[in-house]
């Protein structure tokens, strides 16, 4: 009876509520995180583990496939940032301006690609960029009087397909983020801008852009993580984890190849640790650059 009373008290109740989170944090987050770091210093094969110190890392930094994978991931991340921040922002501003009619319809259509899974969207893009005469991209080339292309075999054209897939799937989502960011801006600011004689560009530059900063920080953060850990898009476009001359090899793709396909868990975990360090460094640079440390503090209280 007494135990029940304690369990039902206002002091204990919050701990009961958050208990699943604490358990999940320990079992499914902290433990794998630590054991991943530990395994990166081990050789793990078929249940037999042995300490090999930093040998995995030494091997990793001499591994040219890994270098390729890192550059591909970083380049993909940088290019998606260039495409997926400014374009959605401008589209959202245009959409929320009084100029655009029937915006509800456009919003619904632009969001639909995000509903498709990476398997289905990857398949569609693979077929569109097919080498065959009837692939849509080749049909367009024929209209322009050009010969057919083996799109996915060359790096430049293959990457065009990869980046277009990303733009196709996520532009609508990022536009929605910016639209809701725009809606949170107080309209009286624009009215006072009008009174002071500001033109459209000045209003965008000095009112819209600064006040969209939280949205931009959010969009950049998710784009950085998604870009760095991209794998399945490449996996689908090249129908498997092998692309010609490894043009589609990413960090996670390499982690998957070593850990799952070749069962070299220790080595693959070292790849994961390097990915984590890259992610943390970029995250840190971004937080310093955008001065968002105070937002982090605000979230705590």
């Amino acid at each position: 009876m007494k135990a029940k009373k304690i369990l039902y008290s206002q002091k204990i109740a919050p701990y009961v509520f958050v208990l699943p989170f604490v358990l999940s944090l320990l079992i499914f987050w902290l433990y794998p995180l630590v054991s991943g770091i530990v395994m990166s210093f081990q050789e793990v094969s078929f249940g037999v583990t042995s300490w090999i110190g930093t040998a995995n890392y030494q091997k990793l930094f001499r591994d040219s496939f890994f270098t390729t994978a890192v550059w591909n991931s970083v380049e993909y991340m940088a290019l998606t940032l260039l495409l997926m921040v400014p374009i959605p922002m401008v589209l959202a501003v245009l959409m929320e301006s009084r100029l655009t009619k029937a915006r509800g319809v456009w919003k619904v259509i632009m969001y639909i690609p995000a509903l498709t899974s990476v398997v289905i969207s990857g398949l569609l893009f693979r077929l569109m960029f097919s080498e065959g005469e009837n692939g849509q991209m080749n049909v367009i080339m024929h209209m322009l009087g050009q010969p057919s292309q083996a799109w996915l075999r060359a790096r430049f054209t293959g990457w065009c397909a990869l980046l277009l897939l990303c733009v196709w799937r996520w532009t609508g989502v990022n536009v929605l983020y910016y639209v809701s960011g725009l809606k949170s801006i107080d309209t009286s600011l624009y009215e006072s801008g009008d009174i002071d004689g500001a033109n459209a560009w000045q209003k965008f530059r000095y009112i819209t852009l600064p006040l969209l900063k939280p949205t931009t920080v959010y969009v950049i953060t998710i784009s950085v993580f998604a870009g760095l850990s991209m794998f399945l898009e490449s996996f689908m476009i090249w129908a498997g984890n092998n692309s010609p001359k490894n043009i589609g090899l990413t960090i996670v793709g390499y982690l998957y190849k070593r850990g799952i396909e070749r069962n070299e868990m220790g080595y693959a975990c070292a790849v994961g640790v390097v990915l984590m360090v890259i992610a943390l460094v970029i995250n840190f640079i971004q937080l310093v650059a955008t001065g968002t440390f105070h937002i982090g503090k605000k979230k705590e209280d």
């Binding site: 639909i112 009837n134 968002t292």
Partner: protein
Amino acid sequence: MANNTPKQKTMAANHKVGTFFATALFALISALIAFPLVCGLLGSFRDGQKVITTGMSLDLKSPVSLQNYQELFAMFSPDNFSDDVVVNSRSYFNWYKNSLVLTITTVVLTLLVCYFIAYGLSMYKFKLQGFLFFMVIATMSVPFEILMLPLYQEINTIGLINTNAGVFLPGLCAASTIFFFKQYMTSLPKELLDAARVDGCTEYGISVRIMMPITKPAFASMAILCAMGSWNNMLWPMLVFRDTSKFTLQIGLNTLLTPYGNNYNLLIAGSMFGIIPILVIYLIFNRYLVEGMTSGAVKG
């Protein structure tokens, strides 16, 4: 608005031209965005075996047939089809069923668990509160792919490989869902809780009978996002499920994408049919989806 002065007239004219171009731009973008899906849909009504060699034809004159879909649904009238077609169709709908079961389980459990965690984090003042909320944010800033391999080994050791629990347990306490529920509840009046306490309601009773009904819109938003994520999830289920009979739709479709192209009729029709559940949910609950998705972007 009367157009009296010449200046007002040119402004009105400019506005009209601007409206035309802005609307035309969005119409064009929407058309480009719809293009791959339209191609896929048209392709699903063409000979699937040819799709692999010639690509999806845009030629409207090429023959259209329901054959891919008939083969997809072959298990419902097995007498009319050859055995391997029926077997393919059976495994497709088995994957479909697996995905439905997994998605529904994941959504129900994730929402309940995250709701109670968020309730604990936002309705009380206690010692570890700040730290725990910081940890919610911290888990968001480590990409899942980093934890994937150790987690795979862990799940293997516990014996959850090849089970639905192995897929949804690690993601049950989804940080973004907890975060959203907390944001939502923080904005609600706490006086209700005290009133209920005075009336003799227990702490747990309040969380279920008082708070849950008021947070319904938050449940709707998160349910859609969670369902989409679960239905389309691929990487982690691909590691957990080993038997073909356990596969979800996405993994199953992926296995049909062979270099030989012998299953492409099933693949293309099955892909199009696989979008339907999410598309239906999206079109019905569009409003909640936008609220759930954008809350993080606005509040930082």
